[in-house]
């Protein structure tokens, strides 16, 4: 009999009445054919597969992960809140052991949304995974979490949110930033001074096929996870590495996605991008669902799949091997790199410029972080958006040491009301959020 080997939960929220704009890739039609395929396959009738109804995420949920400018309501729609709420529902079901793993098939996506969000960039307004991860940490006290981002675009939002967090390992596999939005995610981007090596960015050359993806999973991602020993593995399951995706140049396929999922064994998968809505998504999503549930997926093959045509060249294989080796070296040196990054108590400064392609906003940031060997370190971000607001956001990490907590409040109190439109404090240990102005 057809039965899920692992009890698997699904939230399916295609938001059939929401689009960024009528002809945008992130539009109503995006999950239509996926829903048709999944419904026709009778997925929700399979014993051991449970469909959950999403809920609305709240402003409090977002405030654990992000500074929304000027506030949460101004940059989100109900659809964003249902999307983040859908991920929360899956998280609850996994944490309460109702299910062994779960997949939130939701839209809009979130992985380009950073710690400070002035609006939409890369089709994302709020970061779904980060909101879910911070909810899990506050509600269930989970210590070590790994996020593996397999979207074809660098998950720069999630990368940014966990840049200074040694307890959250962020791994992103994506098409080389020299050929693809958002143009970041190079191997040298390893995380902040207190968390070097807890962000690993693995760029892949255009034309990478199933062979290349699975090579990186087997020779880099899995060994790193083995060493990091996360309590929870989350997959930002973008599906735009597919050979038919209109926005990217990769040669991944439905069988490959299913195999990747089987290897990675994520506790929670959250849908990200993927815009080949007819030829890829129905098959890729079906493959991922079956793989998570432990059901044979051998029959999930795109009608026009031709492995011979999709084979990657030898030079691509060589490049991937080289990158993998480099990443593994960085990973092995992570503690030393953190040691060398600076003296405890010292403040380090980073400047950053961010372009919001969806909402046409330009943002300039100055970030100041306290070097700390006892926790991720508190930091402040001075952010000026054009058009938009000038704000200061202070973050005290969830496992902050007493010195960083004190320093965080000091930075918040010292911030000038005249200089900034808004000043925010995210006190994660107390699960509190304060604002001046």
């Amino acid at each position: 009999m057809l039965k899920a080997l692992h009890k698997t939960g699904l939230v399916f929220f295609p938001a059939f009445d929401w689009a960024i704009d009528p002809t945008h890739p992130e539009r109503e039609e995006r999950l239509l054919y996926t829903q048709d395929q999944v419904t026709e396959e009778g997925i929700f009738d399979i014993p051991g597969i449970i469909e959950y109804k999403p809920m609305l995420a709240t402003a409090e949920d977002i405030r654990r992960a992000q500074f929304c400018v000027p506030d949460e309501a101004s940059i989100t729609t109900e659809s964003h809140l249902i999307s983040a709420g859908g991920a929360k529902v899956i998280a609850d079901a996994v944490m309460n052991k109702e299910i062994q793993n779960g997949f939130a098939l939701i839209r809009p996506p979130g992985h380009h949304s950073m710690r400070v969000s002035h609006g939409g960039r890369g089709f994302c307004h709020i970061n779904i995974e980060a909101i879910m991860v911070e909810y899990i940490r506050s509600r269930y006290g989970v210590k070590r979490i790994a996020i593996v981002d397999t979207d074809c675009h660098h998950g720069d939002g999630t990368d940014n949110i966990y840049w200074h967090d040694p307890d959250v390992l962020f791994l992103s596999l994506h098409q080389d930033g020299r050929t693809m939005f958002p143009g970041t995610g190079f191997p040298g981007e390893l995380g902040g001074p207190n968390a070097k090596g807890s962000n690993l960015n693995i760029p892949l050359p255009p034309g990478t096929s199933t062979e290349g993806y699975l090579y990186v999973i087997n020779h880099c991602v899995l060994p790193v996870l083995e060493e990091f020993k996360p309590d929870l593995v989350i997959n930002s399951a973008g599906q735009d590495n597919h050979y038919t995706d209109p926005l990217t140049n990769m040669n991944f396929c439905a069988q490959g996605y299913a195999e990747l999922t089987t290897l990675l064994k994520p506790d929670i998968a959250v849908l990200e991008g993927g815009y080949a809505i007819e030829g890829a998504l129905p098959y890729v999503n079906l493959g991922i669902i079956l793989a998570m549930a432990g059901i044979d997926y051998a029959g999930v093959v795109e009608p026009d799949y031709n492995p011979e045509k999709l084979k990657q060249s030898v030079s691509i294989t060589d490049k991937i091997k080289k990158t993998t080796k480099q990443i593994n070296t960085y990973w092995s040196q992570r503690f030393q790199m953190r040691e060398d990054a600076g003296k405890p108590g010292e403040i380090q400064i980073r400047h950053k410029e961010i372009f919001y392609d969806t909402d046409n906003i330009f943002e300039r940031q100055k970030e100041r972080i306290r070097i700390c060997k006892d926790c991720g370190g508190c930091f402040e971000i001075d952010s000026q958006a054009t058009p938009g607001f000038h704000i200061l956001g202070v973050h005290i990490p969830i496992n902050a040491c007493p010195a960083c907590i004190e320093k965080g409040y000091e930075l918040f109190d010292a911030a000038s009301r005249e200089k900034y439109d808004h000043v925010f404090l995210m006190d994660r240990p107390k699960d509190a959020y304060h604002r001046k102005n």
């Binding site: 039609e29 109900e78 129905p282």
Partner: protein
């Protein structure tokens, strides 16, 4: 005058209704081995000294197909399925004569791999050799494009008596359920046909020549002719009859719970403004899942004759029945005995009831009265608990649009209607315990037959329009027409209504009962390729809601 006949688990009731109310009702014992004589004797007794020329309508609800499934006496039939990419179709095997063949249609209805005609020929010959007479054919996404099913049928036609096609079963997507449903139709067809032809012949001999209608699981009726293509739809029409029988007593503009408390089981259903709630996809019971439109009912193994036991100091009720209550000569104590002990019920042998409850009381360390009270209360609690779980499930059903998420209907019943033998006794207790307005449906045992008699014709059409491909289809109705790029939402609705009306009249609906039309689903999508609009997809489902025919409701009060 109209006739309703409902074959129940123990008794079969038949009623004669005029516009003044119930004129006559009869009861015969159900003989599951010979349902034909049961039905016939119901009609014979009812029509005694009645002029058959006065009868305008006759509706029958039977357990014929339900029994065939339970007793696994369905005839072996052949199944040919073509799956294409996806889950291995071997998982959906219906029996020995099941063949997965090549050919594939995708979610937009585009052919991705052709049918292999030689392969079908070979299978047909093999099935003929195996003595197969009826065959079901199902292809994945046939509701988007049935051409493979039609082609396969053409090849099979000369070999078999009747061929059932998946796309005729329902406009809903769900390949495994479509296989199960098509198989059911094929497997009960000959049984259904010979039974109803015999019934019809006998009734004609009695001078009753009005068209016979058959009750479906969705609480609606269909003509005998329609039923020959979809005999599976008669499964579980029994619970549907009782729910329809409760409708005259349901509050207007409010939600209500319907409880049909029988000897072994209690059926639970819901009414929203006098209209019963339907299953979103189709009937499901345990691992059996289908695309048969059905009222949303669930049953709990608890009733008046459920066996009482004490296990580890805890009282258990049912789920089995070992005979009638002890007060009526049964072997073991039951909730009915408890009600007799409490003087709630005034029938049967009270001494025997007391003796039965005493054994339970002793094990529970309670007085006889306290034990009886505990039994009665526990029964109500178990039934209501199950009901509340169902309400929660209904209210947490997933939705797929922001609008439905924010505006979705929440079921919140304010009234309980109780049917079945012990209904009056339970109604009072439930009201006391839960403070919800509770009513025992009057003349309850006959209510099922009344429900069947008054049920109107129901049906549903599913339309799919794709202006990029230039076509509007309702393959379930064998309907497909070319459309222009400017085809609109209004055009779609008009087409849907025309098809619905036609389908209803073909299934025996009276023109005066065609008003309760409801749009169950509507979706509209822009098709965009390479950032430019290519067309629109429209989808809609329109139904004739289950309910009662006009002109009779008030006479029952």
């Amino acid at each position: 005058m109209i006739i309703g006949l409902d074959v129940g688990g123990t008794h079969t009731y038949a009623v004669l209704l005029s516009n003044k109310g119930v004129e006559k009702s009869v009861r015969v014992t159900t003989d599951h081995e010979d349902l034909f004589s049961t039905v016939l004797s119901g009609f014979t007794q009812l029509l005694e000294s009645v002029d058959p020329a006065q009868i305008e309508r006759a509706v029958i609800s039977t357990t014929l197909t339900t029994n065939a499934i339970i007793q696994q006496t369905m005839a072996p039939v052949g199944m040919i399925v073509s799956a294409g990419p996806g889950i291995d179709p071997e998982f959906f095997r219906t029996g020995d004569h099941y063949y997965a063949v090549s050919g594939s249609i995708n979610h937009r209805g585009r052919e991705k791999a052709p049918v292999n005609e030689m392969q079908i020929q070979d299978i047909a010959k093999k099935m003929v050799d195996d003595g197969i007479q009826y065959v079901g054919v199902v292809s994945k996404f046939c509701v988007r494009n049935p051409s493979h099913e039609i082609l396969i049928k053409r090849i099979l036609n000369k070999y078999f008596k009747k061929i059932f096609l998946g796309h005729h079963v329902s406009g809903n997507l769900n390949f495994p359920r479509r296989i199960a449903t098509t198989h059911l139709n094929a497997a009960v067809f000959s049984l259904h046909k010979s039974f109803f032809e015999a019934v019809k012949k006998s009734l004609v001999e009695k001078g009753l020549t009005v068209p016979i209608r058959i009750l479906k699981a969705d609480g609606g009726t269909m003509s005998l002719e329609t039923s020959m293509n979809f005999p599976g739809q008669t499964v579980l029409s029994g619970p549907a009859a009782s729910i329809m029988g409760a409708i005259p007593y349901a509050p207007e503009g409010q939600d209500a719970i319907v409880l049909d408390i029988g000897g072994t089981t209690t059926d639970i259903a819901f009414l929203v403004d006098k209209a019963p709630l339907l299953e979103p996809v189709g009937i499901q019971r345990g691992s059996y899942k289908s695309l048969i439109r059905s009222l949303r009912t669930d049953s709990k193994g608890i009733g008046g004759d459920s066996v009482l036991r004490v296990k580890d100091g805890n009282l258990t009720i049912g789920p089995d029945r070992q005979g009638p209550a002890m007060a009526f000569g049964g072997p073991l104590p039951t909730p009915t005995d408890a009600m007799i002990v409490l003087n709630v019920m005034d029938t049967g042998n009270r001494e025997k009831a007391v003796a039965g409850i005493e054994t339970i009381a002793r094990q529970l360390g309670l007085s006889i009265e306290d034990a009886a009270e505990k039994v009665f209360k526990t029964c109500c609690t178990i039934i209501l608990k199950k009901t509340f779980v169902m309400i929660d499930q209904i209210n947490s059903q997933p939705v797929y649009t922001v609008h439905d998420f924010l505006e979705g209907y929440k079921l919140s019943p304010q009234k309980i209607l109780v049917l079945g033998g012990p209904a009056p006794f339970f109604a009072q207790k439930i009201e006391d315990l839960y403070q919800i307005d509770t009513l025992a449906v009057p003349n309850s045992p006959v209510a099922n037959a009344v429900g069947a008699a008054l049920a109107r014709t129901t049906c549903e059409v599913s339309l799919y329009a794709d202006t990029e491909q230039g076509i509007v289809t309702a393959h379930e109705e064998d309907f497909a027409e070319p459309i222009s790029k400017t085809f609109s939402e209004d055009d779609l609705m008009e087409t849907a209504y025309t098809l619905l009306r036609e389908k209803a009249i073909n299934a025996g609906a009276d023109p005066e009962n065609l008003e309760e039309v409801e749009v169950v689903e509507f979706q509209k999508f822009n098709i965009i390729r390479n950032f430019s609009p290519r067309g629109k997809i429209f989808r809609t489902k329109m139904q004739l809601k289950p309910g009662l025919i006009k002109g009779y409701e008030t006479v029952l009060h």
